[in-house]
Symmetry: C2
Subunit: 413 residues, 2 copies
Amino acid sequence: MSKTKRSFAARLDRLAQVAVKVGLRPAVGQQVILTAPVEALPLVRLITEHAYREGASLVTTLLDDGQCAVARYKYGHDSAFDVAPDWLFAGMEHGFKNNAARMAISGENPGLLSGQDPARISRAAKARGLAYKPVSELITSSAINWNISSCATLPWAKMMFPELSDKRALNKLWDAIFKASRADADDPVAAWTEHNNTLLARRKILNDKRYSALHFRGPGTDLVVGLADDHRWAGGLSEAANGITFNPNIPTEEVFTTPHYKRVDGYVSSTKPLSLQGNVLEGIRVRFEGGRIVDARADKGQAVLEKLIQTDEGASYLGEVALVPHSSPISASGLLFYNTLYDENAACHIAIGQSYSKCIADGRTMTREELAAKGGNHSNVHVDWMIGSGQVDIDGITADGAAEPVMRKGEWA
Amino acid sequence: MSKTKRSFAARLDRLAQVAVKVGLRPAVGQQVILTAPVEALPLVRLITEHAYREGASLVTTLLDDGQCAVARYKYGHDSAFDVAPDWLFAGMEHGFKNNAARMAISGENPGLLSGQDPARISRAAKARGLAYKPVSELITSSAINWNISSCATLPWAKMMFPELSDKRALNKLWDAIFKASRADADDPVAAWTEHNNTLLARRKILNDKRYSALHFRGPGTDLVVGLADDHRWAGGLSEAANGITFNPNIPTEEVFTTPHYKRVDGYVSSTKPLSLQGNVLEGIRVRFEGGRIVDARADKGQAVLEKLIQTDEGASYLGEVALVPHSSPISASGLLFYNTLYDENAACHIAIGQSYSKCIADGRTMTREELAAKGGNHSNVHVDWMIGSGQVDIDGITADGAAEPVMRKGEWA
């Protein structure tokens, strides 16, 4: 941390530089497709500036407005909810296939759609997921360099700090974002190089171990997550098929891999609320048998959870397992962000749905069937939820069935 | 005009209703692609609401930010200026081919790019025009229903009223927009029905006359504009190929048709400044021989004008001629808008570049070559500029060469 107090403008500019120079790393002559909430416009302008300075040929921004999204639920005819902007996604697919880079700014209102009909939310999400699938596959397979960074917005800040004034809530969220994104470091780029090296070392240890499964135990949790055949651990730096090395998530604290979708058994309880489709789900408890979810309950958001799992066949199976120490900076902040980009980096987590082909050796060039044979799940959804805490132990199960401590009370063993 | 004073919010809502119910008229289940400057967000939200009320299935808005557009000129590498968002235009083409409606809100800063390198502006405009061509053709041929309405923005208002405070300038522009768009009428929809009928009657007279040419005479102007074979006059209501009747422009006062691109001779002087590619051109004087521009000068913006004409072969020929009485409400306001949507509706005008196939009988189903044989011009640009005033007379030239008065001192004869 710097000893001199920086202005907000200076900190925002440093965050933009982290997003561009650490996260996205656009090549000279590369187009950039940027998506952001409209409230993020000041950050969008700075990211646009730095992307051009780095040589981007054209930065095109798609700004989302929460009020316009809610208007469909308030005024739309019932037939409006099985429709997605397929034309826009077709355009994005065209762009990524022609090597455009993809920058996303996250800052959406976690409670945007609370109170709206869960059936309509689910229909709209399903139509969107289906239409977005070709785009999503190009991103999750890292055909191109991509990055998600974030921007404080008032609805998000007020969800986190309902007791504070608007201004104080926003400032507090900005402080957390600048800190977690290492934008407050004296030399943010150097700080990220060091952090990436730490994650790389952790990946190497886990890759060398070649565990066949992980065993999670904690309050309300006793879950064995089989790992995919020839799985590879990822985290921090990633290499895109276009040859560009980039940081997909700012911030990031996780190392993650692909579970074997048919070898997951036991029960698990969420340790943090989950923001999903404009709703907040709490107290999720799920039971798996032979990889499949056979029972799913939530203290809050049961209908949204059920609809999620019913999206398609793959939505009943796992597509990701990720390890994050309980002492990670985001966890240590003690804050609940209601935003997966943050909360997933504060706790070990699993994700329902689509798996990452890059987390299986040579997976990027495999067909869907070849990936499935290795254990890689396929779905139109990918939803992370947090199952780690200071009370959770994790064992690695070796090929011969022996158990080794991987984490104890949420920390690397 | 209503006798009770309406709130700004009420007037803005009525403008949104005019844009949707008079202008675009989305069908139940139709998607809408909306483009707007980011400053128009409050109007975008209302248009979105009314489009959903009318049955639109999904309204997707692309918000443009002037600062981001300027950032390319300030920070981009030189290689960045031959690039366009081809991926986005490919998506829009996909959308319109699948019957999405197209709504545009105009409110851009007329002087956004003043001071930037005209060569770069021209390269960027050329790349954009080329990539946008398939979309532009779907719009100009009215494959789908479309509308351009407008929104007051501060840079635009300050260009018009530099001597006023920000607030007064904005209010004055809003007043002019509400009035010209008939949003202030007691019943805006009924007012538009009446206005559309007036334009329709004018079209009928001109269509029955079947003039072979129009002869413009005024200060600095002596120009014969041959009309395309089998030309048809349009204006006000239009019918899209998808069967929807709509009003392409809000406001609109013009009736227009397609000139014969090889039968334009003489010289013409602009009667109003022209806002083009973020620059303002003044004192345009152009000479035509056999349809082609052989000399083009501007007191201000000469370089931008030259680059425009050099865009492609068709940019040296006319694609539209339009008649607007000098007493039209927009002209009567006495305001110069630096915005073609307004200024073209205050004066007779011609346009360089692409012609409207719908202004030739059966033109929509003709090939480019068939249209050219009738006199329809083809280009990647379409730029209107104003040549009418209270001092301009227009004769209609009949098939046998006789001259009949069409307009005298800017008014219908």
